[in-house]
Amino acid sequence: MSRLREALGKGGFTFTGEIGPPKGTNIAPVLHEAEEFLKDCVVAVNVTDIQTAVMRMSSLPVCKMLLDRGIEPVLQMVTRDRNRLALQSDLLGAAALGIENVLALTGDHIVMGDHQGAKGVWDLDSVGLLDAMTKLESGTDLGLTMKGEPNALDGVPTFFKGCVVAPCTEEVEPQIIKLEKKVAAGAQFVQTQAVYDPRAFEAFMKRIAHVKVPVLVGIVLLKNAGMAKYMNKNVPGVRVPKRIVDRLAAADKKDVRKVSVEVAGELIREMKGMCAGAHIMPLGWDKEIPRVIEASGVK
C-alpha cells in the first residue's frame, strides 16, 4: 500500500517533495539528489510531467527508478499531451510497475513552453482524468465494447489519487467548485499551488472544511527577491507578500539561501495546524529540503 496514503490516513504532518526529470538522458544527478536529500525526509516525491510544457524525460520511468531506490513516487499526469487512450494505458503501466500515487493536472498551456507549435490535446481535463482512474479501479475503462457495454479489465489497478488547487487565487469560488468536482470524481488528497500568505490559506481551508480530503500546502522555495517578484507578476494564483520580498531583497547574496530556507520553514510552522502536510517544491534546490523541514520545527 502507498506509504503516502498510510501517512495521510494516520493524521500526522506529512511532507512530500518534488523532482523534475532532465531534458536529455542524463538521469543520474536527479536520482542522486533524490537519494541524498529527499529519501529520508519526505514520504513521497512527485515527478513532474513535462512541466510548463518544456519537453523533458517522461515522468513514468523516473517514478519507477525512484521506486527501485526505495523512494515512493507520485506520478504527475497532465492531460495536455495525451488523449484518453494514452492516459489510461499509462495508468495501467504505472500500476503494473507498482506506482500507486497519481496526481492529476490540466497542465500549462503549450504556448508557455518550448514547443509552441505543438498541438494541445486536453481530450480529458483533470476531472476527467480522476474519473478515468476511478473507472479503472472499478474494473472498467472509459470505453465501451462493440455491444455498447462497459469493458472488463483483466487485472484491476489501485491508485491513490491526488489533485491540485490554488488557494490564493483572486476568485476562489470557482476553484472550490472545481475542487468539489475533483473529489466527487475520486480525488483522495490535495497538493496546493504555492502559498505564501498563511491568513489567506486559513480562510481558504475554512471554506473547504466540508471537503474531506487531506490537503498538503504547497511550498515553493524563493531563490531571491527577483523570483518572488516574477511570480507575483506571472504565476497565476500566487501572491508573495511584500514583507517576504523585502526580506529576500535585504539579504546578503551569500545569505539568500539561508533566508529562503527560513522563510519556507516559517510558512510551514504557521500553517501546520491548518492542514495535513506540506508539499515542498525546491525547483532544483533539493539539498535545502532537509533544512526547510528542520526550520519548520515539525520533526
Binding site: R80, R84, T106, D108, H109, V111, M112, G120, W122, D123, L124, D125, S126, V127, G128, D131, L142, V164, V165, A166, T169, E170, E171, E173, P174, Q175, I177, K178, E180, K181, A184, A185, Q193, N234, V235, P236, G237
Partner: protein
C-alpha cells in the same frame, strides 16, 4: 465570414516555380468582404509575381468560388486566358481552392491561408464563437461557450491559470471559465458549474469521417443529395 490572409509572395513563387504561365482567380466573397483578398489584391499579386518574371495570363474574380456551379460557369469566360496557363493561383479560402480544382482541369495553388471562420453565425459560420462541437454545453455554462472561450477547451471549470481575470496564455484575453462563472453567479445559477461534464465525444466534434468521402464535390449538398445520403454523412460510424 471566413477569415483569410495572403500567403507571402516568396511562398507563392515557390509553388509556381517552373510554370510557363499562371492564371489568377479571386473569390469575390469572404476575402473581398474581409478585405484580405479580392480583385485588387489579385492584381497586386499579378504585379508582384510578374516582377519576378512569372507570366500572368489573366486576373479574374468570381463572386463565390465555394459555389461550384457558379465557379464552373464563370470560369468558362476566361477560357482564352486559361489556355496559356499551366495552373490557377486561387485567391480564396481552402474551400474555394478545392472547388476550383474540382471544376477546372488545372492544377490549383492556394494564394491564401485560411485563418478561421470568424463571422456572423447563420449568414456564414463563425468558429470563433462556436466550434461545432456537436454536443452543446451552453445550457450549463450561462450561454458562454467553454470550447471556444477557454484556451484549453476545458469542460469542467477553470484550470487555475486565471491571472487578473485573464487567461494564462494571453493577458489581453479574459479567462473563459471565469466569465462563465461570473455570468452564472450573476444569474444566481453558480450551481450549474457543479455538474460533472463528460469528456467530449470527438465523433460529434470532428468533421464527420463519412463526409470526407461523400462530398466529392457537392457544396450545395442538401439540394443535390438525398435525405438518406445527408443523414448517412452525419457520421454515425460506430
Amino acid at each position: 465570414m471566413i477569415v483569410t490572409e495572403m500567403k507571402p509572395v516568396d511562398e507563392i513563387l515557390g509553388m509556381i516555380e517552373g510554370e510557363k504561365g499562371v492564371f489568377i482567380l479571386c473569390c469575390g466573397g469572404c476575402p473581398e468582404g474581409y478585405k484580405s483578398g479580392g480583385l485588387s489584391k489579385g492584381k497586386d499579386l499579378a504585379e508582384a509575381v510578374g516582377a519576378k518574371g512569372v507570366t500572368v495570363t489573366g486576373v479574374a474574380e468570381i463572386e463565390f468560388l465555394c459555389n461550384k456551379a457558379l465557379a464552373g460557369v464563370k470560369l468558362n469566360r476566361s477560357r482564352e486566358a486559361l489556355r496559356g496557363a499551366d495552373s490557377i493561383l486561387v485567391v480564396s479560402c481552402g474551400v474555394g481552392v478545392q472547388a476550383v480544382g474540382n471544376v477546372a482541369d488545372f492544377p490549383v495553388h492556394p494564394a491564401m491561408n485560411t485563418v478561421s471562420m470568424g463571422g456572423r453565425q447563420g449568414l456564414w459560420p463563425g468558429e470563433e464563437r462556436c466550434h461545432q462541437c456537436g454536443d452543446c454545453l451552453l445550457d450549463r455554462t450561462g450561454g458562454l461557450c467553454p470550447i471556444t472561450t477557454c484556451s484549453k477547451s476545458l469542460v469542467n471549470g477553470t484550470c487555475g491559470g486565471t491571472k487578473e481575470e485573464h487567461c494564462e496564455v494571453d493577458p489581453k484575453r479574459p479567462c473563459g471559465w471565469l466569465k462563465i462563472y461570473q455570468r452564472l453567479a450573476a444569474l444566481g445559477r453558480a450551481e450549474c458549474l457543479k455538474a460533472l461534464n463528460a469528456p467530449r465525444d470527438h465523433r460529434k466534434y470532428d468533421f464527420p469521417d463519412a463526409r470526407r468521402s461523400t462530398v466529392l464535390w457537392a457544396l450545395e449538398v442538401a439540394a443535390e443529395e438525398t435525405e438518406e445520403a445527408v443523414e448517412a454523412s452525419r457520421g454515425t460510424d460506430t
